[in-house]
């Protein structure tokens, strides 16, 4: 690559062309309010929804704990573990949202920017693990309610300690496998692409 030739070629670009026409004010109004990050890179809304849902479930969990503490009943240990899980879930997502700092993300230098995108995607993929455990807990609660109503008030399923935990583990693993085959691959593929790009930014592109 000769710089002189390249400069010559650069200078010979037409001053005005269909491809490089000046931006109109009306177009600019539409462009500046658009989100520059595509759906896969922009997780803000998804994280927000999780925080709201997690907070609501946490509030309900606190209410349930209070009721169990006051009046007694089965499932106290489950509710306590669920409380810690939900607290961590909300904390994790709030931390991720604050860390991502989407408004200032694109103002970073390239390498810190790619590093941050990588961390956000990595943590988001990790969050599916917590989500699958929570899904396991709540699916069991749903099953418990269905059994309770279908058997006319007796909830054998929820009274049996060891089986409850086995079912929770089984459901959590099942949910994780489900996420692993449906939602996670998209983010893992993107994460791998970001890592590859970051590692090879200074290297020559491979001929395709």
């Amino acid at each position: 690559m000769e710089l002189k030739n390249l400069q010559e070629s650069w200078d010979s670009f037409p001053e005005v062309s269909m491809e490089e026409r000046p931006v109109l004010s009306s177009d600019l109004e539409k462009i500046v309010v658009k989100n520059p990050l595509s759906d896969a890179f922009y997780l803000k809304n998804k994280i927000r929804i999780r925080i709201v849902a997690g907070s609501l479930l946490l509030l309900y969990n606190i209410y349930r704990l209070r009721m169990l503490y006051k009046y007694g009943g089965p499932g106290m240990d489950q509710q306590v573990i669920l409380f810690f899980l939900l607290s961590y879930f909300v904390y994790f997502h709030v931390r991720l949202l604050l860390f991502a700092d989407y408004p200032a993300l694109l103002g970073l230098r390239l390498m810190p920017f790619l590093q941050k995108i990588e961390t956000i995607l990595d943590k988001y993929v990790f969050s599916f693990g917590i989500l699958s455990i929570l899904s396991g807990f709540y699916t069991l609660t749903l099953f418990g309610k269905v059994f309770y109503f279908s058997r006319g008030g007796s909830s054998l399923l929820l009274d049996n300690g060891i089986y409850i935990w086995l079912i929770i583990i089984f459901l959590s693993v099942s949910y994780y496998i489900l996420f692993l085959h449906t939602l996670i691959p998209k983010y893992k593929k993107l994460l791998a692409a970001v890592r590859k790009y970051k590692a090879g930014i200074g290297a020559l592109p491979q001929k395709k």
């Binding site: 690559m1 000769e2 030739n5 390249l6 400069q7 070629s9 650069w10 010979s12 670009f13 037409p14 062309s17 269909m18 491809e19 490089e20 000046p22 931006v23 004010s25 600019l28 462009i31 500046v32 309010v33 658009k34 989100n35 520059p36 990050l37 595509s38 890179f41 931390r95 860390f99 408004p103 200032a104 694109l106 103002g107 970073l108 230098r109 390239l110 390498m111 810190p112 920017f113 790619l114 590093q115 961390t119 943590k123 593929k189 993107l190 692409a193 970001v194 590859k196 790009y197 970051k198 590692a199 090879g200 930014i201 200074g202 290297a203 020559l204 592109p205 001929k207 395709k208």
Partner: protein, 165 residues
């Protein structure tokens, strides 16, 4: 009326800046876009990224630096998205014949270079001597300590797990 003028002030400045700097944004598209559609999409993405950077800027970076960072970062994301679609047609296809001819010539003269080199060339063609490539890209991976090295020592590993970077 004064209040409305005050509200419009910074936004008006931003729009004027983006309008005056549109050539600079188009310049980076020449390096990274292969067809008209990609070119227009990348241009719009960079403009919106630059507008976001300038509106939410923290610290002492100038608007020029933030605009150039938006150019470089969006170009990188564009490359990542292209790499994820290996079957995409990468031939140069533009609508106006002059532009097509210039692009083919420019790309053939440039040859196969890394994105980092493209960014350096872009910066070189912008005649911004006060802004260095490190202001836009930061240190390259070769200068950054690898995560494998971090894992050997427990405390830095734990620190890396607890403090997201």
């Amino acid at each position: 009326m004064n209040n409305s003028m005050k509200k419009e002030g910074p936004d008006q400045d931003l729009r004027s800046l983006l309008k005056s700097q549109h050539k600079r944004v188009y310049s980076i598209c020449r390096f990274f876009a292969n067809n008209y559609r990609e070119h227009q999409k990348l241009f719009a993405d960079i403009i919106s990224a630059a507008s976001q950077n300038i509106r939410f800027r923290r610290g002492s970076e100038s608007k020029q630096v933030l605009l150039l960072r938006a150019c470089v970062n969006m170009a990188a994301l564009h490359s990542i998205c292209l790499d994820m679609q290996p079957d995409t047609d990468r031939s140069i296809q533009f609508k106006s014949p002059d532009y097509q001819k210039n692009m083919v010539q420019f790309r053939s003269r440039m040859g196969e270079v890394s994105d980092y080199e493209k960014m350096r060339l872009f910066l070189g063609f912008q005649n911004t001597s006060e802004i260095g490539i490190e202001d836009l890209t930061g240190p390259l991976p070769s200068k950054v300590v690898s995560s494998e090295g971090v894992k050997k020592n427990f405390i830095p590993y734990l620190k890396a797990k607890l403090i997201w970077s």
